[in-house]
């Protein structure tokens, strides 16, 4: 026996929950050791803490600089200690109460058999560590192999047991230590290597695993031994020994397992890829990559579960809590996809028929520690193909575990919004599947609707989350039955109505749209007797998706496993077919029997053959005004509207005579008949009038913007017209060209479509022609004076003057925030269009003040408008003027922008703020470049 070594007093402090209290270990050790022949000294008792330190060291190595290092010459001592530690936990085959039985067993006293084992092991270890004779080593190993019970004359069972319990790690460590290049070649034909490996692969798996991991981690750098050990570990994994490791932890059930060992084992099992990756660096083997290792771990878990099920059938108890911990830890590490990707499909099949499997599966999830519950549940919900499967896998977990309930009903629904729609459907479907869980679904609906309707949530949560909550609400509604909804109708309606109001007030169209859809569906479900709510919204992908989610779910017993029912759409299809086939039959008539040689008469495109409407267009602007105000002839009215823009551009002088009157007529014009493109026609006409007589019309329009008795629509039209007219004035022709080409058929025939041969010839000429100087190919638009210069003030200042003076019908700072947002955008556009004009600087100054007043506005749309206005100011004002005239404003703006860029809940706002900041940076660079030379 090697003399006991001194234990370093510098054991690092231990985490309280993982480790046994230090005092207890020696006590236990003494109690176990007392009947033994060799009396233990105090120091030896302390050896019992050695694995504690080791296990701890292994986990905390990176954080604790004062690591405890193992001296090679005394390595057996900790090995023995580990082995004796093994004795603290009863082995599976010892049955219940094995610890006590071992203590009271007569053989556990001064047994000659056991001391014989110890002696022979000591001798073998001595031979192994000193001898260089291959034959001798081989025979020694062979004699040790007897204790593993696989040779023809195995040792006695109690000898085997004693060897496995106490001496096996010692032998393994010795084998590891002897491993060096020449040693394995002492015998030919790799006999020694195979024998060497068989100790690791056939002995008790958990011991072998721990020793292997420890050996690999102790190797300093890449070396022969490291690679040998890594390959051996790979073999260990591929031969399914990991299942044996896990199984060993499942078998013990009578006494609580020694938690420290379990914790060590757990950590090593789960963090194997990390540890191996760290150690092997670039030489890492494919088996240890996480994407390969975790599926394998999943397979092994499944095999162990199979064993558990079998032994439960056999009537013996088993524990799956170690498996749960493995699962939990792997999921916490973010490996849900890999491990559950192999587990869930198999479990789906297995749980379908056997209720024993279901029970094992439920237990497996139940025993997951709370801190890992969220990771495991998220992974399971994502991996399960449907609510029914989820229900089989989880059972009534949500009613048993508070943590699970929190995760399923609050965290995944209200706090996170990363789940896809199928996942959300299977989650809510799971809640709806069982009558015990349905109250939770009702509760979830209440909370969802409350969040959906809270005005603060609408203002401060991103749009993606709002849409997620809306969808979840719709799915909940689809699952619930009328009776359940009736019980809490008042509460639901209250939150719904509050939410509808807040949402319809919002200035963001998607938020309004969500409000409309959810309100329609929810009111129809919650209050089916009442008059149905109907909103007008455009159909698009989102609406269709949401309405499909709202389709009621079959309550129970539908055999289909996954997905909502596909609504049968072919109700009318047969009718259509019959009419379609009936049509042509009516066609044939007494046609001429003469030969029809119309091959040469290929029809031309006749799509331009439309109804002609311009019969009654007035020819003068005044006639238009008269037709638009007084005419009861709707064709004339429409023709006048269509002709107006062209007339205005053709006769500017005549227009100027009636410009304000015309603007008034157009502003008050209502769509009396269904005219295609009415809004556009009216807007273009107004823009044309404004461009023709900018000063007076702009004055009129800006005055009307703050007048009484206009609808919000009209006020926003005014803003749009002003912006468009300013654009036309500042870049003449841009608007006009684009529009006139789109206006009806051009007067000239389509000579632009050159024949194909012409293009070919042109191309050939181009390629064969050598040009000596290329110059600019397309001449840019001709330079024209910026007509906006003279009139920018008429557009801008009346608009910005009175925004803070509320009217009876119009309160920009109150609830008409939509118009305020539009106003901010328009003002920004006006400043941008006033670039290079003399009035731009006072305009920019006024606009910055305007922004400063409103910078903390609660509405995202308004803030977007303000941010774009800032960008406009930065773009259009000359840099030196900015710095000379507005330095303080710039500084304040900058700090505000930096704040918005980080904290604003609206994504667009953040983006705009970042853009504005970039513009500021550019400005600074420009100034620095100017001043540096």
């Amino acid at each position: 026996m090697v003399p006991p070594r001194e234990v370093s007093p510098h054991c690092p402090p231990r985490p309280p929950e993982d480790v046994l209290p230090r005092r207890k270990v020696p006590y236990l050790r003494c109690a176990f050791r007392q009947p033994r022949a060799q009396p233990l000294k105090r120091g030896q008792c302390d050896q019992g803490t050695e694995p504690v330190a080791r296990g701890y060291r292994a986990e905390r190595r990176s954080t604790c600089p004062r690591t405890y290092t193992l001296h090679p010459s005394v390595a057996e001592v900790p090995a023995v200690a580990t082995a004796s530690l093994q004795r603290l936990r009863p082995r599976g085959e010892q049955g219940p109460a094995s610890g006590r039985a071992a203590r009271l067993h007569p053989r556990s006293g001064m047994d000659p058999v056991l001391s014989a084992v110890r002696l022979s092991v000591q001798e073998a270890v001595h031979v192994l560590s000193s001898s260089e004779d291959g034959g001798h080593i081989f025979s020694t190993l062979g004699s040790l192999k007897r204790y593993l019970g696989e040779t023809e004359n195995p040792a006695l069972p109690e000898e085997q047991e004693e060897f496995a319990r106490i001496h096996f790690p010692t032998v393994l460590r010795c084998l590891v230590r002897r491993l060096r290049p020449g040693w394995l070649e002492l015998l030919p034909n790799r006999q020694l290597e195979q024998l060497w490996a068989s100790f690791f692969l056939t002995g008790p798996a958990d011991q072998a695993f721990l020793v292997l991991m420890e050996a690999i981690e102790d190797v300093a750098g890449p070396s022969f031994r490291l690679m040998k050990m890594a390959r051996l570990l790979a073999r260990f994994l591929s031969t399914g020994r990991m299942a044996a490791v896990l199984e060993g932890q499942c078998r013990q059930q009578a006494e609580p397992a020694f938690p420290l060992l379990q914790a060590t084992l757990l950590a090593k099992v789960v963090s194997l890829p990390d540890r191996l990756g760290n150690r092997l660096q670039r030489e890492n083997l494919a088996e240890f990559l996480p994407q390969n290792y975790f599926p394998l771990l999943g397979e092994e878990v499944l095999r162990v579960l199979q064993g558990v099920v079998d032994s439960l059938r056999g009537g013996s108890d088993c524990s799956v809590s170690f498996l749960s911990q493995v699962l939990g830890k792997a999921c916490v590490l973010g490996r849900q996809k890999e491990i559950l990707g192999t587990l869930v499909p198999r479990l789906t099949v297995l749980t379908q028929s056997h209720c024993l499997w279901q029970r094992v599966c439920w237990r497996l999830v139940e025993r997951v520690p709370d801190r890992a519950m969220e990771a495991v549940l998220t992974g399971l919900v994502e991996a399960a193909p449907g609510p029914r499967v989820l229900s089989r896998l989880l059972g009534n977990l949500v009613t048993k575990s508070k943590k699970a309930q929190f995760v399923m009903t609050r965290k995944l629904l209200l706090l996170r919004f990363s789940c896809t729609i199928p996942v959300l459907q299977s989650l809510l479907g799971y809640l709806a599947e069982d009558s015990q869980r349905r109250p939770l679904l009702v509760q979830a609906l209440k909370e969802l609707l409350e969040t959906w309707g809270s005005s603060s949530a609408i203002r401060h949560t991103p749009l993606a989350q709002q849409s997620y909550i809306s969808k979840a609400t719709l799915i909940c509604l689809a699952h619930l039955q009328e009776a359940e909804l009736r019980d809490c109708r008042a509460e639901l309606l209250a939150s719904l109505m509050a939410g509808v109001k807040c949402r319809l007030d919002s200035s963001l169209p998607p938020v309004r749209r969500l409000g409309m859809i959810v309100a329609e569906v929810a009111s129809a479900r919650i209050h089916p007797e009442g008059p149905p709510l109907r909103f007008q919204y455009e159909e698009d992908d989102l609406t269709r998706e949401m309405l499909a989610l709202a389709a009621p779910w079959p309550v129970t017993d539908s055999p289909s496993e996954a997905g909502p029912p596909v609504a049968p759409i072919r109700g009318e299809a047969p009718d259509n077919e019959t009419t379609a086939s009936g049509g042509p039959q009516a066609q044939p008539e007494g046609s001429d029997s003469e030969l029809d040689s119309d091959d040469e008469f290929v029809p031309y495109d006749m799509s331009g053959d439309t109804e002609l409407k311009c019969g009654k267009a007035p020819a003068y602007v005044r006639d238009c005004v008269e037709a638009l105000t007084a005419s009861e002839d709707w064709e004339r009215w429409e023709a006048a509207l269509r002709a107006l823009e062209g007339l205005v551009f053709r006769s500017p002088a005549a227009t100027r005579e009636v410009s304000v009157e015309l603007a008034k007529v157009l502003l008050h014009l209502e769509e009396k008949t269904a005219v295609a493109g009415f809004e556009g026609l009216r807007q273009r006409a107004l823009v044309a009038v404004t461009v023709t007589d900018p000063a007076r019309v702009a004055e009129y329009l800006t005055a009307q913007f703050y007048a009484l008795n206009y609808s919000l629509r009209q006020r926003m039209d005014i803003l749009d017209v002003l912006a468009l007219a300013a654009q036309e004035l500042s870049w003449p022709g841009r608007l006009g060209k684009a529009q006139r080409t789109s206006l009806g058929p051009s007067p000239q025939p389509s000579s632009t479509a050159a024949p194909a041969w012409q293009a070919v010839v042109e191309e050939r000429i181009q390629s064969k022609t050598r040009r000596f100087s290329k110059g600019s190919a397309g001449r840019g638009p001709a330079a024209v004076p910026n007509e906006f210069n003279a009139v920018a003030g008429y557009f801008f200042f009346p608009l910005i003057q009175r925004f803070d003076k509320p009217l009876v019908t119009f309160d920009l700072l109150g609830e008409d925030q939509l118009v305020l947002g539009r106003l901010a955008h328009t003002l920004g556009a006006l400043v941008y269009l006033a670039e290079n004009t003399s009035v731009a600087v006072p305009m920019g100054k006024a606009l910055l003040e305007f922004v400063w007043v409103l910078r903390f506005h609660g509405d995202g749309y308004v803030r977007r408008g303000l941010l774009s206005a800032i960008s406009a100011v930065l773009l259009s004002l000359p840099a030196e003027r900015l710095l000379a005239d507005l330095p303080d404003e710039l500084l304040e703006t900058r700090s505000w922008l930096a704040d918005v860029a980080v904290k604003d809940p609206d994504e667009d706002c953040r983006l705009l703020a970042v853009k504005a900041l970039l513009l500021l940076e550019k400005l600074r660079d420009k100034l620095l470049a100017l001043s540096s030379p």
């Binding site: 046609s591 331009g608 389509s750």
Partner: protein, 326 residues
């Protein structure tokens, strides 16, 4: 074939310079005379322009209607003589031979309507002319060049078809008897036997006044268009009874003129909707919609070599070459 249809064609060329709306067009084949093909056009201001299709310029201008609209132009098969009908109640016969442009003869008309006349000339020196007569619903038949009134075709007492709107004299292949097709104001088309002065058959194929008709004498089939949205195709059987064969619906109402090409393959209509429509005559399959003019198209005409001309209220005459003879 999945190919996209060809885009609508452009006119081959456009004649400008009439300075008023074009109401009558007539091609004068280049077989005789100067040898080059001519196009005659009559304008709202009473001028007749003679265009050379080679130089595409006006060769001569005839002023014989006192500023009143020229509604009908027709050359005689024998010799270079031109008939022009104007709203000054005169029908002039011009001598165009050897560059002359003098009125040889004129006929006084009784009707102030827009009804165009029609001639039937079988190559002899004597030919037949149908013009609206003195009574509002009469058609007068004259023998030319003697200007003797042969007869006056008056509808029976009970029927009130209104004014004749368009006339077409016609001789069927089977019999030598001259026939007259007349479209009336009430939308009916009547077939008159001229020699017997009686209506052989009458069909009400439109509900609005018939504005134009043309007949394919070989197949005894004709087509008529009215102020409404429908073209009617009818045929004349052996008993000289009219029968509606089919109708064709149009996009916009109003047909001012209809012509079948001399080779009887296609027909063209002049529309009030500014468009010229081309159909396959055999099956009435629509072939093209020519949207070039910016005012009502008043008249269309086909040349012997398959050129198509259309005259419109926008003072322009467009010349098209569609599906030429092969």
């Amino acid at each position: 074939m999945a190919d996209l249809p060809l885009p609508p064609p452009d006119p081959q060329f456009v004649l400008r310079g009439t300075q008023s709306a074009v109401h009558a067009l007539h091609f004068c084949g280049g077989a005789q005379g100067q040898g080059c093909p001519l196009l005659l056009s009559g304008s709202l201001r009473g001028l007749v322009h003679i265009w050379s299709l080679q130089t595409r310029r006006v060769v001569a201008t005839l002023d014989g209607h006192g500023g009143q609209c020229v509604t009908w132009l027709q050359t005689l098969p024998q010799g270079p003589q031109l008939l022009s009908q104007g709203r000054d109640l005169k029908l002039c016969l011009w001598d165009l031979a050897e560059g002359r442009n003098t009125v040889v003869d004129s006929v006084h008309l009784e009707s102030v309507g827009f009804c165009r006349g029609s001639i039937l000339a079988g190559g002899q020196s004597r030919w037949m002319l149908a013009v609206p007569g003195s009574g509002s619903d009469e058609v007068q038949i004259l023998e030319m060049p003697s200007k003797t009134s042969v007869c006056s075709l008056k509808p029976e007492a009970g029927t009130r078809p209104g004014m004749p709107m368009c006339l077409q004299l016609w001789q069927a292949n089977s019999s030598p008897r001259p026939l007259l097709l007349a479209g009336y104001e009430d939308g009916s088309v009547a077939l008159w036997d001229v020699s017997e002065q009686k209506v052989c058959s009458r069909i009400a194929c439109h509900t609005e006044p018939v504005m134009g008709l043309d007949v394919d004498s070989q197949k005894a089939r004709g087509v008529s268009g009215s102020a409404e949205k429908v073209l009617a195709v009818w045929s004349v059987d052996e008993q000289q009874a009219l029968q509606v064969r089919r109708t064709h619906q149009l996009t916009n109402p109003g047909i001012a003129d209809i012509k079948i090409r001399p080779d009887r393959k296609i027909l063209a209509t002049a529309g009030w909707d500014h468009r010229v429509r081309v159909f396959l005559w055999q099956t009435m399959k629509p072939l093209a919609v020519l949207a070039f003019h910016s005012a009502t198209v008043h008249c269309v005409a086909f040349a012997a070599d398959s050129l198509l001309a259309a005259g419109s209220g926008d003072h322009r005459i467009s010349i098209w070459s569609l599906y030429p003879h092969t």
